[in-house]
Symmetry: C2
Subunit: 338 residues, 2 copies
């Protein structure tokens, strides 16, 4: 009676940026059938986001830190194996936090049904929280239009990749900023950006200034990094530009505030929007409907950095935390057979 | 032949904040009749703005500095004495830069016709550039609505006074910040603000925080001063607040940039607008039409700090530059007989 499944958990409490050595593989017993209100699911794909670094140390939005032996956070695409909930049946696909485990029992209230015809991994990236972030910033705050010129950093990431492709589809020109030739290549070749500046190369500020000048100034700047990037980008805006403050990653570890020049905002007649994605999560369906034809036409593509097998998850997270992933970091736990 | 009129000019080039001793009274000869395209005008009211401090030192928007013996900058309300221009006749009222002189010859292309029934001084303050600034910030950028709570500093000034009254007329609650009891009294009694915090009193930040709390957070912050005020006000915003960056007066002399916290903008989901009034000057007529019934009903009132006689102008400017004026600084040169 019961069933034993493999699961990854913390080997010990984590105080610094997590490394692969902080995790361990255990076996967990599951009941034969799901209790009332629960689903027995199999994890197909696990998504690993940068926020999991601070989250695992208990430093993310006041959420409790995971404990050794307990389930780890992170959304995954799952398939229902057995259901004790009306409306769900074996074979259905859902996104939920099921731990880093081959199989789990999850409450039906915590799951989000997905349309597998859009691609399974899309629901973790471009239709997941990163995609909602990109959609909200580009269409709801910056209100992209044909003729806009978008400057966006952390360009190889799924937020920027999705944001840039939404802007391209609207008729905008897109200039990315990323660290290293591989990330720039991804932005250009997979996401179709018009240009990408490598901030690890000397003279990148001048390159960016030249691209701005050529375009008559950036009309939208989308910030994912922090003050070091803002101080370069703000002077390159055209009058009445829109700025989206989406992420301040370089300040999260350091704890130093991201100070920006109010005089430059005035001088540019810019409008600066602060974006918190949680406000837009209830509107995910709007984004999914907008994305559907873009995915079908190939105008909206994902770029995934895939590790294979549950046991590869710790090393994959370490890579994410170090900013070394190229595209959306995923773990393929049980294939993507639909 | 000709006519000699009194005029104030610089006694010598000015390098620091101007004082009364930097000016001198001269006599200037005018022709009997205006040359073609010109108007002979009499100065009734001269407006003295804070920007004249840097302007007279050649430190304002790249404009040339005035020279000793030459005309001084500053808008005035004038009455036409003689016209060599079709469409203008003696008795007409105009606003123009006619120097700090009893009378002058001015090109008709530089003048703006005004409706004297709205009151002469209104055209220098609440219908002049300060008023257009207030209108643009409150109605075009912050888009004030009933239920809004406006926090605004330099509250005794004509920009803030007009902005606050526009907001009140739209159904908003208005909290001012000003330096000293006289300025706070002006904001409360003349402009009808709901509250005014004196930033020269100890504990003013807590007073402001209490007012914010009571109001459920400020929904609009209108900044006329700079970073020292922004760092107090931004944390007191409610989610989705709008911030108008209108003036950064405390940074003009010091030359230090006004740095503000981007993380706080994000956290508040705020929208920050940079305002440059020159963009809105072509739309002045919209504001005049909106203001007309407000003036008639008494909902929009001016507060003037009046010095009498052309010779009082230098001391009046010194007061403006020191931030000691209470309301709009004017010089009554030739009465306000219409």
């Amino acid at each position: 009676m019961g069933r034993s499944v493999a699961e990854i958990t913390l080997a010990h409490p984590v105080e610094a940026a997590p490394t692969a050595a902080d995790f361990t593989l255990i076996q967990r017993d599951l009941p034969d059938t799901p209790p009332q209100g629960m689903l027995h699911v199999r994890l197909l794909w696990l998504g690993l986001d940068p926020y999991l670094g601070p989250r695992i140390r208990g430093r993310h939005m006041g959420e409790p830190r995971p404990v050794p032996g307990g389930p780890l956070p992170g959304e995954g695409v799952c398939q229902v194996l057995a259901s004790a909930v009306e409306g769900f049946k074996p074979g259905d696909h859902v996104v939920t936090e099921a731990g880093w485990a081959e199989e789990a029992m999850v409450s039906a209230e915590t799951v989000r049904r997905i349309d597998p015809s859009l691609g399974l991994t899309a629901h973790l990236g471009l239709l997941g929280m990163p995609g909602v972030t990109a959609w909200a910033g580009i269409t709801q705050l910056a209100k992209v239009q044909a003729g806009d010129v978008l400057c966006i950093n952390a360009a190889a990431g799924v937020v920027a990749g999705t944001a840039g492709q939404i802007a391209k589809a609207a008729g905008a020109r897109v200039i990315g900023i990323a660290g290293g030739p591989d990330k720039c290549r991804l932005a250009l070749e997979q996401y179709g950006f018009d240009a990408c500046v490598d901030y690890r190369q000397e003279g990148w500020q001048q390159q960016l200034a030249d691209l701005s000048k050529e375009a008559g100034g950036f009309s939208i700047h989308f910030e994912n990094v922090g003050a070091s990037m803002l101080q370069v980008a703000l002077p390159l805006l055209r009058p009445y530009a829109r700025v989206v403050l989406c992420g301040l990653a370089e300040h999260y570890g350091a704890g130093t505030p991201a100070m920006i020049n109010a005089g430059m905002i005035m001088f540019k007649r810019a409008t600066v929007h602060g974006l918190i994605v949680y406000d837009f999560i209830p509107r995910r369906a709007e984004w999914v409907e907008m994305a559907r034809p873009l995915i079908a036409s190939g105008a909206l593509r994902e770029a995934n950095d895939v590790a294979v097998g549950l046991q590869a998850a710790p090393a994959q997270l370490e890579k994410v935390v170090r900013g070394q992933s190229n595209g959306r970091a995923l773990v393929r736990v049980a294939g993507d057979a639909v």
